[in-house]
């Protein structure tokens, strides 16, 4: 999905991401957390990356990952077929991968850190929130310009195998992958294989 760097679109972006996560079997709490992380990431791009310019591009890509850590789109499609739909949990969706890209000014990822929460002051909480609610977070430079944030949220073990919230029996799994931005697939690979606690988030 491509959107402009206008805060008016934040609400729609949150709803879209939460809806996809819900269909992939994430709990309501996790859906809220995923939407929150995306919102905070978009806010950072708008406020810090683009200095609040409202007409700049931002790309959001998201897709399911299998429990084995592979992209789950193919498995979902093959298992479900065109006509027949199955639960996401039936084909082992283990996580959701979200990549947010922009053409904003580049920042050294190593200087992007969460602030000390003992200081009670306005601002600077976005990075902490993103890192707190997502399992893997990586910031990197995007070629030829801009930044790329790759985030992964795993489905909690307790929800794996359960019926996805809001998906009635016979409901459809969904496949959502948007390659509006070049290099998205590479971003996915690096996030899914090289992420973890060493990931760096942006402020």
């Amino acid at each position: 999905m491509e959107l402009r760097s206008n805060p008016l679109y934040l609400s729609g972006a949150r709803e879209m991401v939460a809806a996809v996560a819900r269909r992939l079997g994430f709990s309501e709490e996790a859906c809220g957390q995923i939407a929150l992380a995306v919102d905070e990431a978009l806010c950072n791009v708008i406020r810090h990356g683009y200095d609040r310019a409202s007409d700049k591009p931002i790309w959001i890509s998201l897709w399911p990952m299998s429990e084995a850590g592979d992209q789950a789109d193919a498995g979902l499609t093959e298992a479900a077929g065109v006509e027949c739909c199955r639960m996401a949990s039936d084909v082992g969706v283990g996580a959701i991968q979200i990549v947010i890209e922009d053409e904003a000014k580049q920042v050294d990822p190593s200087v992007i850190k969460s602030r000390n929460l003992d200081e009670v002051r306005p601002g600077g909480l976005g990075v902490h929130i993103i890192r707190a609610v997502m399992d893997e977070v990586i910031y990197e430079h995007r070629v030829p310009l801009g930044m790329r944030l790759s985030m992964l949220k795993k489905r909690a073990a307790s929800t794996t195998g359960a019926s996805p919230s809001g998906v009635a029996s016979g409901g459809c799994t969904i496949q959502c992958m948007n390659q509006a931005a070049s290099g998205v697939a590479n971003g996915s690979t690096s996030a899914s294989t090289g992420a973890g606690s060493k990931g760096v988030a942006r402020g």
Binding site: L10, S11, L125, I129
Partner: protein, 117 residues
């Protein structure tokens, strides 16, 4: 009684004895936080003894909303106003907990409790 609104948030303010109650309804995100900030500052000029922010109808809040409330708390300390948040939904309470602000603010379960907390 005052009423302010934008596309995602409507805010109502009213006097309630020695307190002023601000009731935002909707989402407090980057779009709406300036509106909430503006209204809280307008009310704080009158230096009420107690300022209650009823969050029971706020379905979503992000870090810009937290920043707005932290600013309000800091301003309230200077002016001697007691600020109390009340009726947080689970989703909103969650972001306070993530940011470890749930123990920083006075948070009441409901409006009645907020009048005395």
């Amino acid at each position: 009684m005052a009423d302010r609104r934008n596309s995602t948030l409507t805010i109502t303010s009213r006097n309630d004895g020695p307190a002023t109650i601000i009731t935002p309804v909707g989402d407090v995100d980057l779009t709406a936080s300036p509106l909430l900030r503006q209204e809280i500052k307008r009310v704080q000029v009158t230096a009420p003894k107690r300022l209650i922010v009823d969050l029971g109808s706020v379905g979503y809040m992000d870090s810009s909303g937290l920043a707005t409330l932290i600013e309000a708390m800091q301003l309230a300390r200077k002016s001697g106003t007691r600020i109390v948040l009340c009726a947080l939904t689970d989703r909103v309470r969650s972001i306070f907990e993530i940011a470890r602000l749930d123990s920083v603010f006075n948070i009441a379960g409901n409006l009645e409790e907020a009048r005395t907390k």
